[in-house]
């Protein structure tokens, strides 16, 4: 993988190979697909690793706009297409949007497990 982390002033996304975890922090409020492209490329690389399990830690992702939903959905769909990985999402009830919107990923990729803390 070329890029394993993107860190900006109010958000970050990183991939830890040891724990097979994508961690999303902060506020994902980017303007459209073009601005989400670096993130999208990184997520494509993660999907292409064909890991048995991909963990996604969203417990510190406070905000996700619809373009961000689209970007993460594309990642889920890529996992589905490749068909190698199970997706496990660590979520939090602290940010109510997660209880409302993450279940949509389960509809895209049915074996997805979402663990709320």
């Amino acid at each position: 993988m070329d890029v394993t982390e993107i860190i900006e002033s109010n958000y970050s996304i990183s991939f830890d190979a040891d724990s097979s975890t994508v961690k999303c922090n902060g506020y994902f409020r980017l303007r459209g697909s073009e601005e989400y492209a670096p993130m999208s490329n990184m997520l494509n690389d993660v999907a292409d690793l064909k890991l048995d399990v991909v963990n996604m830690d969203l417990t510190e992702l406070e905000f996700l706009n619809s373009s961000g939903i689209n970007t993460l959905s594309k990642f889920v769909l890529r996992l589905r297409k490749i068909g190698a990985s199970k997706l496990v999402i660590a979520a939090t009830e602290q940010y109510p949007w997660q209880k409302k919107s993450l279940r949509n990923f389960q509809k895209l990729l049915p074996e997805t497990e979402i663990r709320f803390s």
Partner: protein, 191 residues
């Protein structure tokens, strides 16, 4: 040309509490303009929560849910308004959020370029014409196969699908090339 789409509820001063926010968009800094979305949305959410809590008891969880929902919807509305605002014509975006009993209604009004009106009305017809959940997933699946995906409509669909919202639009269309056209987007949720 049809000007109202969906069940557009007009603002009634009567028994409502409301907040008006009007912002100007500048062509100087796209970044600064974009940041206005979250600045406004967060303020609006905190403000309206205070209003709602003044009228009834809410648990901590309910308060958190309400604030989060208003924040998300307001942010999406601002993002769309910013994308559509016809900078050359009128740089203002007017936002009103209203609380009447257990309902919150959002109204966002922005200018819109003449040549964007018809495609937008076509999109609206699609959004109002089918099942929101089905369309939400169709759009996500369709976006998968395109390099540069158009997320037009996905914001509205996420609001309808995840927040159980009603959406409607009203156009003030100018037939005169020198006068600006406007569109008002209305969203209603139960709180």
């Amino acid at each position: 040309m049809k000007s109202v789409y969906g069940n557009f509820v007009e603002f009634d001063l009567g028994d409502s509490e409301f907040l008006d926010v009007a912002v100007s968009m500048s062509s100087d800094s796209v970044e600064s303009d974009w940041r206005k979305n979250s600045l406004c949305a967060e303020f609006i959410a905190k403000y309206m929560l205070n209003t709602i809590e003044a009228h009834r008891q809410t648990s901590n969880v309910e308060s958190r849910d309400i604030k989060d929902a208003i924040n998300y919807i307001a942010n999406e509305l601002f993002e769309n308004a910013v994308k559509f605002t016809a900078l050359a014509n009128n740089r203002a975006i007017s936002f009103r959020v209203v609380n009447v009993r257990d309902v919150v209604r959002f109204y966002v009004r922005n200018s819109i370029e003449q040549d964007r009106i018809e495609p937008f009305q076509k999109l609206i017809d699609e959004l109002l014409g089918g099942d929101a959940t089905e369309m939400y997933f169709q759009r996500i699946e369709a976006n998968e196969s395109t390099e540069s995906s158009s997320t037009s409509g996905l914001g509205y669909l996420s609001i309808m699908n995840d927040y159980d919202a009603d959406i409607a639009w009203k156009f003030d269309i100018s037939l005169d090339a020198d006068t600006t056209s406007y569109v008002t987007t209305m969203i209603q949720i139960d709180v």
